[in-house]
């Protein structure tokens, strides 16, 4: 090696050369190169010494640091400063929320259809569960007065009829109620058909 550069010397000082390269650089470096390597090592020693002394200065505070670490490890919820540090994560979370809402917007029609259909099924199940019954309640009219009084009246009969769905209000859609007559004297079946507006509008 005819010419040794400063980066060569630095790599030699840092042990970044293989054995053959190192001996070649060492031979070519001479006294001037050796002095520069010594100068590099001195920088290293000054930096290390400075940082070691700084750690000595912080020894007491480092000793007390475990208590703080342990307290944070045991803390059930994040402390305020953690929340501040977690701000970028919060931004990320809000970004995810925005993306979720955008997805909902895109699929709103399908979601609404699904929700309304589920509601319709629930309403249908409720209607079908309620067997059409006629409830007859007899109210006894108390008899007052003597045997010579007026003739006792017939009992009053109250008749309750099952509720009938006359209209169905559906938000964001149209509801249609119709009845399918049962075959062979079987019970009728009520059907509620809900069509969302979005579907109607082709969205």
């Amino acid at each position: 090696m005819s010419k040794v550069t400063d980066p060569d010397l630095m790599m030699l000082a840092d042990g970044e050369l293989d054995a053959a390269e190192a001996s070649s650089v060492e031979r070519a470096a001479g006294a001037a190169g050796a002095a520069k390597i010594a100068g590099l090592r001195q920088v290293g020693e000054l930096v290390r010494g400075h940082l070691e002394l700084a750690a000595d200065d912080a020894e007491d505070r480092l000793g007390a640091l475990w208590g703080l670490v342990e307290r944070r490890l045991d803390a059930p919820t994040a402390s305020v400063d953690e929340a501040v540090r977690a701000a970028p994560a919060a931004v990320e979370s809000s970004g995810m929320w925005v993306r979720l809402m955008q997805w909902v917007d895109v699929h709103r029609g399908h979601l609404l259809t699904g929700a309304l259909s589920a509601g319709a099924v629930a309403a249908l199940a409720f209607v079908l569960r309620a067997e059409p019954q006629v409830e007859i309640r007899t109210v006894e009219v108390p008899v007052t007065g003597s045997s010579a009084g007026p003739e006792p009246r017939d009992p009053i009969v109250l008749v309750a009829t099952p509720p009938e769905v006359e209209s169905l209000e559906v938000s964001g859609g149209t509801g249609t109620v119709f009845t399918i007559e049962g075959e062979d004297g079987g019970s009728d079946t009520a059907v509620i058909w809900v069509t969302p507006d979005d579907v109607l509008e082709g969205i």
Binding site: T5, D6, P7, D8, L9, M10, M11, D14, G15, E16, L17, D18, E21, A32, A35, K36, A38, G39, L40, Q42, V43, G44, E45, L46, V47, R48, G49, H50, L51, E52, L53, A54, A55, D57, A58, E59, R61, L62, L65, W66, L68, V69, E70, R72, L73, R85
Partner: protein, 232 residues
């Protein structure tokens, strides 16, 4: 010139097997094992953090956050690297994040590209010495303060590379991985960090006769150009 990864110069020999046992216990929830890891490495973590953030309170915050983060993600530590290698990456990332968040002024990197040998003068590095033993020299408060100021004045990237190399003895390849940049960039940062440290401490050096070094005017020009160069 390439070389296989070599043993770091200053990295203390640790009982890696013992670390692994402690990590395994800590992963199972053993707080005492995690405390042992803390006691074993908090000082080194502090030196590393302080070397980068340059403020004792901030360095303690970084160490605290680093151990909290390490504990929370301990289940993801698979033991391919040593525990400390994993921890120092956390410390270094938090320290650099801290600098980014709290940066009051920007010190730009000078010549942060790959090291161009042709662009370097033969006398770029200053030969020798603080007139004797550097460790002893640091007992002098003035010298210690000068070293502190010189480190403060380096850019964050230059300082981080210098601290990783001098404190942890990381290879260029390891530093390139830690800082997610090329090996050439690491070499360049390290070279300029050292050279600028030397220049800022130039009047402390006892230069041997017969070796010319950059004069004070050139030193000043170089340092000023570092502060002004917007290229990085």
């Amino acid at each position: 010139m390439t070389k296989p990864a070599q043993q770091a110069i200053t990295r203390p020999a640790r009982d890696v097997g013992d670390d692994r046992k402690l990590v395994a216990l800590a992963q199972q929830g053993d707080r005492a094992a995690f405390r042992s890891l803390f006691e074993r490495y908090s000082r080194r973590a502090y030196s590393l953090a302080f070397g980068v953030v340059r403020n004792p309170d901030d360095a303690l915050d970084v160490v605290q956050d680093a151990f909290i983060k390490a504990h929370r993600h301990l289940d993801k530590f698979e033991g391919q690297a040593s525990f400390y290698t994993w921890l120092y990456r956390i410390v270094m990332n938090l320290a650099i994040d801290h600098l980014r968040k709290n940066r009051r002024h920007k010190v730009v990197d000078f010549a942060d590209g790959n090291l161009d040998e042709g662009a370097l003068g033969e006398e770029s590095l200053i030969p020798r010495i603080v007139g004797g033993n550097p460790g002893r020299a640091l007992m002098d408060k003035e010298i210690r303060d000068r070293v502190a100021v010189a480190l403060d004045e380096l850019s964050a990237n230059h300082r981080a590379v210098l601290v990783m190399r001098e404190l942890e003895g990381l290879s260029y390849e390891e530093m390139a991985q830690a800082m997610e940049c090329s090996k050439g960039t690491i070499m360049s940062r390290l070279f300029h960090a050292r050279r600028n440290m030397q220049k800022r401490l130039a009047d402390l050096y006892d230069r041997p006769a017969g070796l010319e070094a950059a004069g004070p005017a050139e030193d000043r020009r170089d340092i000023e150009s570092e502060a002004e160069d917007p290229s990085s």
